[in-house]
């Protein structure tokens, strides 16, 4: 690079030449335009986020494990990271001869963002590495003394490598979930000591044993805007670009703070920090639940001998193209037919502005024409079992509706519509008249069953 500089006709200072050499190596992110920045900030002032989340909402977290023990993939919205845990027998540190060693390494790969460079320690990578170390090592979440094999001579070194696969904001949270998930999933080889001899058994000889983990620290990130006036949980990449500062709180589900870090130079009030820690404790307990659930699922899948691992978690069967041609449709009298239908149809019912679901799992009992599905969160959908297929007349559906009925009956108040026993109605007829008291079974079953939560009854109380 310096050789070509000599041939340049323009006179440049040495400083300029140095800047040029530095620039040709990296690829910067495309700059954010002023209108985009103003738009995002204004939207945040009006309590709106780009993807429609609420201020304290996390993106959808998906945790999958690989075929090997200790490999964990975490998807936080579009942000994707992978953590891999491995172990090795090494000589312990002299100051701590009977403790194992934990080694953390977070790599920002160019796969995640064009702004990341391979092999170069950028500021962000140093910061994330330090935070991950503080969160997991200093909190003593792993019992390092159990990693000792021969005191002073041989201990296990547990190495956690976190690779970023896609950066859509909030790498720290995703990395912490992936790291602790991988550590919980990992199994180290069994070791036996006979006198002076140490035998390390391969996984085929003896089952590998899991690490002893005391607690699961998980980090929650808060982004601050307008000098600390507005805060958002789990910022996405755009929001990260316009934020003023970031507060990262690492906590476990027992409400113990493992690490807290504020960057960006914003000044926070004590109440703000207290509020953030309260929010963090709620989020951490939810995420810990998710991790435990994922670990259980993986365990069950492995026990059942079923296929498990990363390749299986990717959807294979997908419709990618439609093969049918455009079909011609007779359209001459569509207008008249449509207007005649509209005239004879009933007026649409008033929609409930914000139904609240009292208990997860309670579905709509199908009152008259009231259509509230589409207004509840997705979590409800997942909690309901997948037995609800569209328009099925299966027994499980009937029993489910029975259960809901009973629950609905219990909370009934005076002015509630009578509901017949669903066992008798096996036909597909949809009954829509408000005067009769039969419930429109199929509108509820075919589409509304998925956690359609209303609690009009609760509200009337």
């Amino acid at each position: 690079m310096l050789a070509t500089c000599k041939h340049r006709r323009h006179g440049f200072l040495r400083s300029d030449i140095k800047e040029y050499t530095r620039e040709t190596v990296s690829m910067k992110d495309t700059p954010l335009s002023n209108c985009e920045r103003d738009f995002i900030l204004k939207a945040i002032e009006e309590k709106k986020r780009l993807d429609g989340r609420q201020t304290y909402d996390y993106r959808k977290i998906k945790i999958t494990f690989g075929t090997d023990y200790g490999c964990c993939f975490v998807d936080l919205g579009q942000t994707r990271v992978m953590a891999q845990v491995s172990c090795e027998l090494v000589v312990p540190k002299e100051s701590r001869p009977n403790e194992g060693i934990m080694f953390f390494n977070l790599e920002l790969s160019p796969m995640a963002s064009p702004a990341f460079e391979q092999g170069r320690q950028s500021e962000l990578s140093v910061k994330l590495n330090r935070q991950l170390e503080r969160c997991l090592r200093n909190s003593k979440c792993i019992d390092t003394e159990s990693l000792c094999v021969v005191s002073g001579e041989k201990v296990w070194q547990i190495r956690v490598d976190v690779h970023t696969l896609n950066n859509d904001g909030n790498l720290m949270d995703a990395a912490s979930v992936a790291a602790i998930g991988a550590l919980c999933h990992f199994r180290r080889p069994d070791v036996s000591i006979q006198g002076e001899e140490v035998t390390v058994y391969s996984p085929e000889e003896r089952d590998p044993i899991p690490l002893s983990i005391y607690h699961m620290p998980i980090s929650v990130s808060f982004a601050f805007f307008q000098q600390g006036t507005f805060l958002l949980v789990d910022p996405c990449e755009r929001e990260e670009r316009v934020m003023d500062g970031l507060l990262m709180i690492a906590m476990n589900k027992h409400r113990e703070i493992c690490s807290i870090q504020s960057s960006g130079g914003i000044m926070l009030l004590r109440e703000q920090v207290m509020r953030c820690s309260k929010i963090a404790s709620v989020k951490v307990s939810e995420i810990t639940e998710l991790i435990n659930k994922a670990l259980l699922n993986d365990k069950a899948a492995r026990k059942a001998g079923g296929r498990c691992g990363f390749a299986e978690s990717m959807p294979q069967e997908r419709i990618t193209a439609l093969k049918t041609d455009q079909t011609a449709v007779e359209m001459t009298d569509v207008g008249e037919t449509a207007s005649s239908i509209v005239q004879t149809a009933e007026a649409p019912p008033q929609t409930v502005p914000s139904p609240s679901v009292p208990v997860p799992g309670v579905g709509q009992v199908g009152e008259v024409l009231r259509n509230t599905w589409g207004l509840e969160e997705e979590e409800e959908e997942e909690e309901e079992d997948g037995g609800e297929s569209s328009g099925g007349d299966s027994v499980e559906e009937v029993t489910k509706m029975d259960v809901e009925q009973h629950q609905g009956d219990k909370s009934r108040t005076v002015d509630v519509v009578e509901i017949l026993d669903s066992d008798e109605e096996e036909d597909e007829v949809v009954i829509l008249y408000p005067e009769t008291t039969k419930k429109p079974k199929n509108t509820a079953s075919s589409s509304g069953q998925k956690g359609a939560g209303t609690s009009r009854k609760q509200k009337k109380k």
Partner: protein, 293 residues
């Protein structure tokens, strides 16, 4: 909220010209161009075991004994005299760094801009300190390429009243290979808006400036509200540009204008639908063929 839904169908892709003259020699990286060793290799090729192989995806161009491959999708490779639209990314000592969709950020030296007032004087230390008042990070400018450094970075200048900071308008980012090289890149379209077709693929649409005098050599940006009719024209133009770019039609003032006229029968937001895009581009291409013949 009204939602427009339609089922996907098999798309019948049609192209207007199938003549042999239009047949381009397209290669992908790794394709062998020729095994004849008599040719000199140009950009986009490399020699692999005595065979000339392409290293980029594009069309093969042959000039006497020189073979090169011109890539279809590439970053902007500037030449002296090109008009570019760029965004300021950094303010440094005595110059600005401008992002122009090329491999390196372009440079706009302080000595290459018109100072407010239009006077010609030596740049003093005060000018250096007040650089930020003229152009800040995030501002859009139109400029011309003055020279090219040996590493490929462009040196820009705005030493004419038609260049300078851009005010209210819409920026459309397209591929540089779609912009046709013409004598002038600033057009006042008869439909009621003006357009700057930057050679680097950035196209700037703005309402035609009225009779106001532009003082200060291009640094005065009017913040008066733009009327609704102007906004509609600009939105429609932007959608037409996206339609033309999606079908890889060469962009110049005539093609943009024909596309605008063909799109008048649809609503502005409908122009973004794929089937409407196809229809409009077909009409545009027909009109262009008639115009040429």
């Amino acid at each position: 909220m009204a939602v427009d839904m339609r089922l996907p169908t098999v798309k019948n892709s049609m192209s207007l010209s199938h003549s042999a003259a239009d047949r381009k020699d397209l290669v992908v990286p790794g394709d062998v161009i020729t095994s004849d060793t008599g040719f000199m290799r140009g950009h986009g090729t490399y020699v692999d075991e005595d065979k000339l192989t392409a290293s980029v995806a594009g069309e093969v161009q042959r000039v006497d004994k020189l073979i090169c491959v011109r890539p279809l999708k590439t970053r902007f490779n500037g030449e002296v005299g090109d008009v570019v639209v760029g965004r300021i990314t950094e303010v440094q000592q005595k110059r600005w760094k401008v992002e122009t969709n090329s491999r390196l950020d372009s440079v706009l030296l302080l000595s290459s801009v018109n100072l407010p007032g239009g006077e010609l004087r030596r740049r003093s230390a005060e000018d250096e300190l007040t650089m930020r008042e003229y152009l800040q990070e995030g501002d859009l400018i139109s400029a011309e390429v003055q020279s090219v450094f040996s590493d490929g970075a462009l040196s820009l200048h705005t030493r004419s009243l038609k260049y300078g900071k851009l005010g209210q308008g819409v920026l459309v980012q397209l591929s540089p290979s779609l912009i046709k090289r013409q004598k002038t890149h600033f057009h006042n379209l008869p439909c009621g808006a003006s357009i700057i077709l930057g050679n680097n693929g950035f196209v700037w649409l703005y309402p035609t400036p009225g009779q106001q005098e532009e003082e200060a050599g291009g640094f005065y940006t009017s913040l008066e509200p733009v009327s609704l009719s102007d906004r509609e024209v600009i939105s429609r133009l932007r959608n037409c540009l996206l339609a033309l770019a999606a079908h890889k039609v060469l962009l110049y003032d005539t093609s943009v204008l024909y596309c605008y006229e063909s799109s008048l029968q649809h609503q502005v937001k409908d122009v973004l639908k794929p089937e409407v895009m196809e229809e409009i581009v077909m009409l545009t291409q027909q009109k262009l063929l008639e115009h040429e013949s």
